[in-house]
Amino acid sequence: MKTDGELLYAYAVARDGGSPADVPETLTGVADEPVVPVRHAGFAALVGRVPAAEFEEDALRERLEDLAWLERVARGHQRVVDAAVSAFSCALPLRLATVYRDEEGVRRMLADGSASLGSALDRLEGRVEWGVTVYALPPPNPPDPPDPLELSPTPSPPESAPAPSGRDYLRRRGAQRRAREADARRAGRAAEAVHDTLSPLAEEVRLHPPQDSRLSDHPGHNLLNAAYLVPRERTEEFTRTVAALTDDAPDGLRIRLSGPWAPYSFVTHAP
């Protein structure tokens, strides 16, 4: 079955329900290729044939530096995983760029991993992942106090107000710094409170590293980047709680809900 110059990209693993029509024929993957199930050992892996020129190790390493390419692959991967979740009652997303040389490799993976794949599917059946991020927006810029060492001839202060002394300047600077620190502490406590409110609604919680604003283009500072594993029947309660937290959030705090996701963050127990 091997075609030269092609590799098999594996997206997700589910229990093989035996039905031949569970994956839409129009589904395409990271290289716009058709996606088909490889069935073995009671499992089905969704795979697609991708060009080796893009996905073998050296090529991949180079292309991962290309954000546009990475985005296309990431969105394609997510598209197939979402389809797998709809087609099967539970599907395990695989790590980005899980690539095999041929179908025999995929079948061996399913057989070798059957115990851990089965227990992960049992644990995650009927659960979805929700993401919640909390960002603190930068405070509106207070005007810098005038630098007393710099003589500004233009705006002459009202006669009643004497020119600020160096001591005034330092005092004001210190007050601004303390206010900023107090704001940061308040925002940190508010983010913790969000997490403390949501955690009891989840079976498992995973904290991802804070998102880097240089990548996210977000003007704020990411205080919480959490994933919650929520039983389907508690989804409404969970999203309602996030909405209430969002409505009640103090000024300058942004709470974002993302999902429902396939349980990417929970396929292995939190490290």
Partner: protein, 65 residues
């Protein structure tokens, strides 16, 4: 509070990359290329940023002369 002042497309990509680069089943096997567990786990957002911000040196290559 509506987040219409935020770059939602980019944020949704970052949410996705958080999951794809740190989550998902990591499988090993004789015939896998072992890309997932060997390389991708070391690629964090800092490495990704190097593709959009030339001031951060690439982790793979020496800076161009």
């Amino acid at each position: 509070m509506i987040s219409d002042d935020l770059p939602t497309e980019r944020l949704s990509l970052v949410d996705l990359l958080d999951r794809l680069l740190a989550g998902g089943v990591v499988l090993t096997g004789d015939l896998t290329l072992r890309i997932a567990d060997v390389d991708l786990v070391r690629i964090d957002l800092r490495a990704l940023i190097s593709s959009v911000d030339a001031r951060v040196p690439s982790p793979w290559e020496p800076p161009a002369p």
